[in-house]
Amino acid sequence: MHLAYPLVVASLLFSIGVYGVLARRNAILVLMSVELMLNAVNLNLVTFDIWWRDRLHGGQVLTLFTIVIAAAEVGLGLAIVLLVYRNRQMIDVDRLRALAEETGGDVRGVRGDGEGESEGEGAKDGDHAAVVPSEGSTT
């Protein structure tokens, strides 16, 4: 069997996974695309194991390990996605831009200050006014 057939299939699957990770908005669809990329890697591993006729079967054993790691990854990823859904009521990866949860007034004030810094120097005064009363409320 010519080695190009499984290699071409694997690279096409990998690039489909790249497209899915970049273009999809739903976090579960992003996880599915990551699974597609992992499957492309598995196909490459099996192909080169067959080609080298490895007596230790390193490629196929590593494929089994990759499958197990993918199962662990998708379990943890779904737990994170469900936690995000519980806190935000949506799992759009485009709209998840904040690095801190909005749990109280103090956190929101800090977050507004961070956005003002990213916008530029001109917004400093308004943000400072927004931070000061929230600091007063926490102490």
């Binding site: 069997m1 071409v8 299939v9 996974g17 497209y19 499957n39 390990f65 936690l83 749990t103």
Partner: protein, 189 residues
Amino acid sequence: MSGQEIVFTLLGIVAVGSGLLVVTTRQLVHAALWLVVSFGALAGGYLVLTAEFVAWVQVLIYVGAIVVLLLFGIMLTRAPIGQSMDLDSGNRWIAAGVAVATAAVLVTVLVMGFRDAHTPLKPGGGSAEELGASVFRTWVLPFEVLSVLLLASLVGAIVLSRSDIGPRLPGRAGHPGHPGRGGRGEGDG
């Protein structure tokens, strides 16, 4: 073109086509079901490549466990059944360009690099007996480390999904029963 290559080409077309449908369909549940088709075709490809144990593990874990887990995730996030228009983000054409560039580079490099690489397919190289012997003889230490990894991810998933434990917020240190993070989550369930 031998018979094995024809069968593998057909299975590869099925795998790549259903993978394309996974990333382009407008229905979430259909994406998970097309993922089943893609993984099944890849398992058939492993069978053609004489890696039979990997093929059955692929069917058991990917089709049996991971897709079911993804379907549970779709169900628990209350995804809309039916067509939803906002599954693709605005940069899908940039993403398509990046994907086409990746495919071009990978296919060119691999086809040019392995142009005259032929391998005869002998059955029996990937049977459960051979793989079990090499897992438990040569690769037994990574196997045990992998079990520790699975245990760690199990504990991590439990810690992430339980809502009554978590870091205590500094402002609410006086109420240990309501740590603030799971307050809304308990109301949802």
